[in-house]
């Protein structure tokens, strides 16, 4: 099957900020995104886990976004502005997709 190059952006962001991030992504008119739950983690600010938590302050979410290569930089800028002052992580991977027009 013929595939076309695209970019996969993965953002890990603290739960209270998720809605702000998705709002910014919506405004940037991204082709779509998917939010995955995160169970636990560790970073500069130490370990945490979601088990038994009733507060969402300590939780994280993973946001995965596939887009055309030429859109990646703009989306990254928009996302980064939300993530930068907060706990979080952004990484970008090259990937291939089947219907490139869907990711413009």
């Amino acid at each position: 099957m013929q595939t076309y190059p695209a970019k996969r952006i993965e953002i890990i962001i603290e739960a209270p900020l998720l809605h702000r991030l998705t709002r910014v992504l919506d405004q940037a008119d991204v082709p779509g995104y998917t939010v995955l739950p995160v169970r636990a983690g560790s970073g500069r600010s130490g370990p945490w886990t979601r088990e038994g938590q009733v507060t969402k302050a300590g939780g994280m979410n993973a946001v995965v976004l596939v887009c055309a290569a030429d859109r990646a930089s703009g989306i990254l800028d928009a996302a980064y502005e939300v993530v930068a002052p907060h706990i979080g992580l952004v990484s970008i991977t090259d990937c291939e997709v089947v219907r490139p027009e869907r990711f413009e």
Partner: protein, 330 residues
Amino acid sequence: MEAIIALAAANLLSPNVLFFALGFAAAMARSDLSIPEAVAKGMSIYLLMAIGFKGGAGVAENGLTFQLGLALVAGAALSAAIPLIAFFLLRAISKLSVTDAAAVAAHYGSISIVTFVAMTSMLDTAGVEFEGFMVAVAAIMEAPAILTALFLVSGAKSGGAAQSRGKMDPELMREVMLNSSIVLLIGAFAIGWITGTEGLAKIEAFIVSPFQGVLCLFLLDMGLIAGRGMRDSRKYLAPPVILFGVMMPLIGAVLGLAVGNLIGLSVGGVAILMTLCASASYIAVPAAMRVALPEANPSIYLTLSLGVTFPFNLTVGISLYLALSQLVGG
């Protein structure tokens, strides 16, 4: 004095405190015991729904007095004022930065609904009556403290080349006001009020009978979280900060005692207002702080609120507050 000790001893050996202690000990010992997040959230929703509804049904039965208005105003004022005391106390005795101190202060102006529930459970056991509308006071006290904290930060920053952080944008305002616990408490309170004792009779077997047991299970979870916090993050709490976590509830309680008697609450109502003032938030405020004051270290405010002040109130505080209220008002 003897009465206080008896009350405290009875409380220490209640299932509530013992289940909390079990969770705390299990977490400290690194047991893998844990409550699924969804179950913990489900229990939290249950508790909010139940106390809201019961409070509303209480108002429906006893009628609403002028005092409700007074108590709401008093609660909002206390929630806004307590962070000021907390902030300056913290800055005086500890080395926390302005931002960290303000973030901690916000937690102490706001309230812990489980501590509130533990107090009502103690009042029920002791057979002390209290005003049903206190649950509305609890709801109204959730948010004002956040505003004070942000004001403290922006005040401190305006001197230098302040960042634009620490401002309350309208979006955050809406989030705080429509926070799930406020909506559920006030909503269930209103429904309890509208449907009254008839409504209560319908769902009593769900929200009244199993309540104490669910509370025990929830406190087991609170113990697990508090213990895990203390295990992993004790290092973030310098001794003066831990001291603050025990002093501040007492200061808050005394304020609540004064104001509660001033506005003429019953002995039970005063004990509850003291508990609200003495307790520190661990749901609404931390989330708001992550948005508005991201530089503040969550390990400090969460561990202090959950690992120090919550256990203190649950084990010692609430007996003390009830005893004091009885002493002054009885």
